[in-house]
Amino acid sequence: MRKAAVILAIIANFYGFSQNKQVLYNFTSIPQSLLVNPGADVSYKYYFGIPLLSGISANVGSSSYSAYDLFADNGVDFNDKIRNIIQKSSSNDKTYINEQLEVFSGGFRVGGSESQSYVSFGLYQEFDFLMYFPKDLAILAVDGNQNYIGRSFDLSDLNVKAEVLSVFHVGFHKKINKKLVLGGRFKMYSSGANATSTQNSGFIYTGQNTTGIPNIYTQIIDSNLELRTSGIAKFTKDEYEGSIPGDVARNTFLGGSLGLGIDAGLTYYFKDNLQFTASIIDLGFIKQSKDIETLTYKGKYQYDGVQPNFSNADEPENIFDEFEKAIPRDTLYNKYTTWRPTKFNASIQYSFGEKRSDEECNCKAQSMRKYVNAVGAQMFAMTTPQNPFIAFTAFYKRSILEKLDVKATYTLDAFSNKNIGFGLSGTIGKVNIYALVDNILEFRDVSKANSMAFQFGLNYVLQDLDE
């Protein structure tokens, strides 16, 4: 039970996320914006990310409770807080964590100085966790069934998945003409650890019998539970004596379960100052094949209590044996396929206010007019085991100085209806620094935030202009 408390604490600590990178999306002065749209209008002669510092992002969220709800130092009993959270949560509420760390990244222009074709590549590590609130099971654990006679506790409320993986990617984008940029990215996933339990069903039911049916209660457990794991089974064995983080890391980068995926995207200019973009990210799968173990509890059991038989000597019945016979724990070793959470982004942007260069004269290589301001709207959607996660964003972008851009966003999603994000991208010499955060209003008291995200990174970028 300590374990349960610790897990609960960890979840609450890192609470929730959505993988929506609304501030980064189409922020084209940051090379990493290519990771959310491989067809973004990004140009460079070459760039490389400062290893391990080029892209650090974390995204956490919980739609129904915050750290404050659970850990506030306000004299309310901890167990009452848990009860309150259970009461106000529904089985559609989710807790989400996503973390990404770029190990290395880079890109270069291919072809001559007139070419507008670019290659980018990199390796990043990612951690994903998504859990729906297991409301019915939480009620059963906290209250028991005594006050819930006649109610079916739904086992499908158990819906959780987690994965640690590394992603190696190579992308290509090309400015086809003045109006259109097309891009694609090929990804190779290596999953170090995966746990998936998203296809559960069944119920636990206790009904009170009226006359006619002899026993006091009708008690049925109908279970169709399945937990699929890959890269985890050996840690659960008694003889395991290694270091779990070390082994997960090794599996993640070397010898994990492999998968493939693609990203695709485009940028289209209706006019110089009216731009449309769209992208689809992580359309891919992982064939879970290393150290796989699937646990199932499938069957139906009706509990009738002890039933002595006075007329015939009978074999004594054994409640546990009967239960285990009815709902056996099976271990399977079949490979299975998991689909990556696929993300879809789109934006429309209107720019205004022509830019005046601070520098003396900078007339070369300006094929298009530059604007100081841009406003627009973005949409984000992501597949989840239940309904897709959808977010809408309005944004304003401005070049404050020649090499300093800011972007502010206002986002509506399941976690918040007042998510204001802010991002900065600046260049000092040839080093590009960016820092992006969302849910700024929650900074007044981060413990009460339902979601939070940040991205930070350093790149070395060489433009033609720099020569």
Partner: protein
Amino acid sequence: MKLCLKKRVFTILCLSLLFISCSSDLDFNQTDDFKLEPVFVANLVYFDVPAHDFVDDGTEHIVAFDAEDFDVFKDKFFNDNLAKAEFDFEITNTINRAFTVSLLLLNDNDEQLETLDYEVSAYTGSANISKFHEVFEEQRLDLLKQTTKVAFVIHIKAGSPLNENSLGNLKLRSSATVYMEIE
């Protein structure tokens, strides 16, 4: 000019990286108070013995006996976290004889840990339901937790003899209410 600009850019960047944030006081030690106290109800024992079952070859047996495994307390988690138990018995007698129904709680070595005796009056034509309530706490609960078998003894008290054609049943149904404390 250019240098000055760079300085400004740098200053602005540095300042903006220091996003000022606050947090209410949080107390993570509260997890020490974490305690689940669910209450579960479940069927316990059920039987329904017709009057003629007490008769064999025209002879009345005054004692009926059966023993059953009852191994729920062998489950360590359940055993460790069980704080209190209550048993509710409901005995309906429609046989024209009085009975003593006994439940013997036995351990692995068939040693008797506790005996529950219930007197049931004879059926005289009107509803004849007896209810009994047992509470297991502290020492009594400790004995209950050692239980691995339950023996059932039905003792028929003196009265007009039963035969193969005697009517009526002796029915027992019961429930357990278990109070868990999981820390």
